[in-house]
């Protein structure tokens, strides 16, 4: 299972800005993602995690360095790499079924077959009943399921997910985590999952890349060695979550200092609440 799928070599990306220094979104990223791996990019906003995803998707281009998929450099978007965005981006002028069929018809799949495959995937995300509904009739979680079905029906090798559950409520998100884990287990796709939610990353991923800012890039890598299907209460996960939080706090402090000036100090432990710091003081 450790066959390299996506390889990043010295990937660098900077954005030109009028009248000031170019912003370095990604600096010297070296990374190998294996086939069938579920990898999360975790970090505060502005750390280049979405930029990295967009480059793999072919929607953006790196300034220098190389990225290869199966040994081939990326040339623009392709239907072997499908993106699921934070907002579902369903086309409101099409029915749910037509939305899912959209990509298949571009691939020149015959209409009848496309319909069949789209229905199959809609059923897999438990929305078979809503095939003829219009997108506005669905809830946020349902829309996101359709978006996932629309991506997976294309049978891409790589699924790119850009904070796909960030706009959903906690309960819906937990349900979708389970569903995504099952779908991933069944299809064995390589998944790159961008998020700023530590718990989400810990529950879903094989590997977590913690990203840093200014310059953007990979700060550290965590392997998640917990059995699947995952439980949020698993001690390995809880432990890992707090380890990541410590590193993330350092990163946050850096950003806050830059935004508020150098006299700002994010007190250690203040994020974890006062009840903890109170412990033992009465003994």
């Amino acid at each position: 299972m450790s066959e390299p799928h996506i390889v990043f070599q010295d990937v660098h990306k900077s954005f030109e800005q009028k009248g000031s220094q170019p912003v370095i979104a990604l600096d010297q990223v070296n990374l190998t993602i294996n086939k069938g791996e579920f990898i999360s990019l975790l970090g505060p906003s502005g750390c280049g995690k979405s930029t990295l995803l967009n480059i793999v998707a072919g929607l953006d281009k790196q300034t220098s360095g190389s990225i290869t998929v199966n040994g081939q450099p990326i040339k623009g978007p392709g239907n072997d790499r499908i993106v699921v965005f934070q907002e579902s981006g369903l086309f409101p002028w099409m029915s749910v079924l037509d939305n899912v069929m959209y990509g298949l018809l571009i691939k020149k799949v015959p209409k009848e077959e496309a319909k069949e495959r789209a229905m199959k995937w809609l059923q897999k995300v438990h929305l078979g009943k809503f095939a003829n509904a219009q997108p506005h009739e669905l809830s946020g979680g349902m829309k996101q399921r359709v978006a996932i079905a629309r991506a997976l029906v294309m049978d891409p090798e790589i699924l790119l997910m850009d904070e796909p559950f960030a706009a959903l409520d906690e309960q819906t998100r937990m349900v979708l985590h389970k569903e995504l884990e099952e779908l991933w287990y069944e299809t064995k796709k390589t998944i790159i999952f961008v998020t700023h939610n530590i718990r989400e990353a810990v529950i879903l991923s094989d590997r977590i890349l913690l990203m840093k800012t200014r310059p953007g890039g990979v700060k550290s890598v965590f392997d998640v060695k917990a059995a699947r299907p995952r439980q949020a209460t698993d001690s390995v996960l809880v432990n890992l979550e707090s380890r990541i939080l410590v590193e993330l706090e350092q990163e946050m402090e850096k950003i806050l200092k830059e935004e508020f000036g150098h006299d700002y100090d994010l007190k250690k432990d203040s994020l974890r609440g006062d009840s903890d710091s109170h412990l033992g003081s009465d003994i």
Partner: protein, 251 residues
């Protein structure tokens, strides 16, 4: 409505204005005299009004169709290229502020007295307005939809046909409605001045014959045609699109 008609008839009966300036609507002032209703009916049975209406509407359709194609095309160019936006886009919005009938003397010089001149100012008026609205509509297409389509492998004309055009339909319909009203005005103004047949020319004839009954009958037709198309074509399409998209619940 009934009150308005009654007031009209009263003004006519008391001859506040001479009868040729203010003809009765339904009840003739002297037995067998002219009324607007009578002129209206005889105009239709005699074919004179019917034919003029047909001529005007068919000109409108020809001019408007050409304007839609041209307007969408120019709007797309402005959306696509920053350079064209800065040059042509600015030019178009300047021209748009010129009432299209101002072009008529020029049209007469270029195309002569006839159908061509009328169609020219219809196209001019509607195209400019549509260029402005369609380019604004294309620019407002959600980048998310475009990215979704591109990641699925759509590009070029396919992207335009399946995403950009359908995404702008609600705005385009609103734009078409405005352009249509401009075009309908242009038809009548052109015919009124250009004398090439149609309702506008008939209106001018009514004026020179001092037949206000004819003038009023034609004004009624103009209003009715405008209302029918606006209410039964555009409003209907607009409602069904908005309902399908869930933008607005049915009133």
């Amino acid at each position: 409505m009934a009150i308005l008609i009654a007031i009209w008839e009263a003004i006519s009966k008391f001859e506040i204005f001479p009868a040729f300036m203010w003809p009765p609507l339904i009840i003739p002032n002297d037995p067998g005299g002219v009324t607007i209703l009578k002129t209206f009916i005889s105009g239709f049975t005699g074919g004179q009004l019917l034919e003029a209406t047909y001529v005007s509407i068919s000109r409108l359709l020809v001019g408007f169709s050409i304007a839609v194609v041209l307007g969408l095309f120019l709007g797309f160019l402005i959306y696509k290229s920053k350079l064209i936006d800065d040059t042509l886009g600015f030019f178009v919005s300047t021209l748009q502020s010129v009432p299209n009938i101002v072009w008529f003397p020029l049209a007469l010089l270029w195309f002569g007295l006839g159908v061509e001149s009328v169609i020219f100012i219809i196209i001019l008026g509607a195209t400019l307005s549509l260029t402005v609205t369609s380019s604004a509509a294309f620019k407002s297409v959600s980048p998310l939809h475009i990215r979704v389509a591109r990641t699925m492998g759509s590009s070029g004309f396919h992207l335009f046909r399946t995403v950009i055009l359908p995404a702008t339909i609600p705005q385009l319909i609103a734009g078409l409605r405005v352009a249509w009203a401009l075009a309908w005005r242009a038809v009548l103004a052109g015919e009124l001045l250009g004398g090439s047949g149609g309702l506008g020319t008939l209106l001018d004839m009514g004026r020179s014959l001092q037949a206000m009954d004819l003038v009023f009958a034609i004004m009624i037709i103009i209003g009715v045609v405008g209302t029918i198309i606006d209410n039964f074509v555009f409003v209907k399409i607009e409602r069904s699109v908005l309902r399908k998209w869930g933008i607005q619940t049915v009133k």
